[in-house]
């Protein structure tokens, strides 16, 4: 049996949780979460940790130079820098609105990159 301390990042409450795993790595118990999201987070964090990546993309012909973006779903932690590599190469033309798909599948994750801000055309 091994115990691991985790802090849920599901919301800013940041519940402190303790997960117990048996010799085969199976999760036996999770304690300390305030809501079910914490349980789900702990299971995922121990088996396949994921994160939402947020960044900015260059805009051409817009009222602003940059538009903020995010991966629509979370992506595997190990893919974060691959996503950033692709994001850095991108440039989009204004106008852009919240929710616009910038890239349908980023870094082979199957997850779309979407705009989170609005930039009007100049």
């Amino acid at each position: 049996m091994s115990k691991r301390q985790l802090i849920c990042i599901g919301c800013p409450l940041g519940c402190q949780m303790e997960a117990e795993q048996n010799e085969d790595g199976e999760i036996v118990s999770i304690k300390g979460n305030t809501c079910p999201r914490g349980d789900a987070y702990a299971r995922k964090e121990l088996t396949c940790p994921t994160r939402i990546v947020t960044s900015t993309v260059r805009v051409e012909g817009g009222m602003r130079h940059m538009v903020s973006v995010k991966t629509k779903e979370d992506v595997p932690k190990g893919k974060i820098f691959d996503c950033m590599g692709e994001i850095r190469k991108l440039a989009v033309a204004a106008p852009i609105a919240v929710g616009d798909v910038i890239l349908p599948d980023i870094a082979g994750t199957g997850v779309a990159l979407v705009a989170t801000g609005n930039v009007d055309a100049r």
Binding site: I7, C8, I9, G10, C11, P12, G14, Q16, G32, R51, I52, V53, T54, S55, T56, R58, R64, H65, M66, S68, V69, K70, K77, I80, F81, M84, V98, T116, G117, N118
Partner: protein
């Protein structure tokens, strides 16, 4: 002069939410004044996710969260003037919008604003909602020895440069202060290809949210050195290195613990301060603890008809609570206008006032006093504690009677706490003939 029922200073999250709530409660002549060229305030540069779980039940980024409120403001056709700097807010006790009442009961406020398009002008307001937000504590207040080379930025300035301008201010970075913006910028600059060497925190605990330590530092192997500070900065033109040292319990550097980091950038994330120059000019009484206005249950300041919400009132770590608080200010401003129109007297008759006293570990509370007659069935009291507490209780006492108790596994100064008071319970404690009470809120171990 244009007359408004409610003039809101600032179109950040607080101002927007206050406007929407006031409108939904029947107020119509609402004006929002914003100095930036777009609404949304600081949220526009907070491109990370984690906003809106309470308000919208989904996790949004800062700009998306702002966008939802901007849309709500537009749908309602609320007037919002951008690129407008408010210069002054004054109260004219001699004039009164409601001429049937004695002149000084609910005096008009006069807001002096300036914009490039319209020059300097004044508007009259029955109520004003202060929603100017906060700014970063300046470096000057920090007393760091050494030269003043280029390459030292506040974390918020760096955030603006990276996220709005697309400019990376440095490649090897040391961060002083573990406030949330500093933590967020540690990750952001790492993602943009910079190397963040270390985050140093003067206090023995972090000033930011736990989740930000996990996902901004731990995820990227960035170490957090608690009880450490910057003792030297070298480099004449540009930062070349920063020396950290451990501090003792009196926060004085311990000789022999110095470590030097070669870097080109130092980010400072050493706290935020409510921006209250306008409030002070208006005669609003400020709290020495929060630097924000002292308010009652309606979030109204000592100047009648002037309300405050969001970071100008006290610095929040969660925008969801800013929106909630601002909505309350908006509703109360709308109610004030209604009372004014009905020429209704203030509930002076047997007004029972309860002062909230922060004690043993509780640094301040918002609100700081409650008029029972105006209190909602449930009143949220927000506060911060002064130290890290484990497995403690937050309790409220009125007349020696415990009226609220809440167990908290962990409390830290970096995370705002709240306690709900029930009007019913307060009513049970009041006695005939006594009109002023003191309600104590304290941290207790058992």
């Amino acid at each position: 002069m244009r007359q408004y029922d409610i003039v809101i200073i600032g179109a950040g999250p607080a101002g927007l939410a206050a406007a929407v709530a006031a409108f939904d409660d029947g107020a119509r002549r609402i004006l929002i004044l914003e100095r930036d060229r777009e609404p949304g305030g600081i949220l526009n540069q907070c491109i990370h996710n984690g906003f809106g779980l309470h308000t919208f039940k989904e996790e949004l980024t800062g700009p998306e969260y702002a966008d939802r409120f901007i849309k709500q403001v537009r749908e309602r056709g609320i007037e919002c003037r951008l690129n407008t700097m408010v210069m002054d807010i004054g109260v004219d006790s001699g004039r009164d919008a409601n001429a049937t009442r004695e002149p000084s009961a609910r005096p008009m406020k006069y807001v002096t604003a300036m914009s490039r398009a319209d020059g300097m002008y004044q508007v009259a307001a029955r109520t004003v909602i202060l929603a100017m937000g906060c700014r970063e504590r300046p470096r000057g207040a920090l007393n760091i020895p050494g030269y003043r080379p280029a390459g030292i930025y506040s974390a918020g300035t760096a955030q603006r440069l990276v996220n709005m301008q697309g400019y990376l201010p440095g490649r090897r970075v040391v961060i002083l202060g573990s406030g949330d913006i500093g933590l967020i910028m540690a990750r952001r600059m790492t993602l943009e290809g910079a190397k963040v060497l270390v985050v140093a925190e003067l206090m023995p605990y972090s000033g930011g949210l736990k989740r930000n330590i996990v996902q901004c530092l731990d995820d990227y192997g960035i170490s957090l050195k608690l009880s450490h500070t910057v003792v030297d900065i070298s480099g004449k033109e540009r930062v070349e290195s920063v020396t950290l040292a451990q501090v003792d319990e009196n926060r004085r550097p311990i000789a022999g613990t110095e470590e030097t980091y070669e870097c080109d950038t130092l980010l400072l994330s050493v706290g935020l301060l409510p921006e209250n120059e306008l409030s002070a000019g208006l005669g609003v009484e400020l709290s020495p603890v929060t630097s924000g206005p002292i308010v009652n249950e309606s979030l109204e300041t000592n100047v009648g008809g002037v309300f405050a919400c969001g970071n100008v009132l006290h610095v929040h770590d969660l925008v969801d609570f800013v929106s909630e608080e601002a909505a309350l200010a908006g509703k109360n401003a709308a109610a004030y206008v209604k009372r004014m129109e009905a020429a209704e007297g203030d509930a002076k008759e047997a007004e029972i006032e309860i002062e909230i006293k922060p004690l043993s570990g509780v640094r301040y509370t918002v609100p700081s006093h409650v008029r029972l007659a105006r209190m909602q069935p449930e009143q949220v009291v927000r506060f911060r504690v002064g130290d890290v507490y484990k497995n403690c209780f937050i309790r409220a006492y009125l007349n020696g009677r415990q009226i609220a108790s809440k167990k908290r596994p962990v409390m830290a100064p970096g995370e705002m706490e709240q306690l709900k008071l029930k009007k019913e319970q307060l009513l049970e404690c009041v006695e005939p003939g006594t009109s002023s009470y003191c309600l104590e809120i304290r941290v207790e171990e058992k």
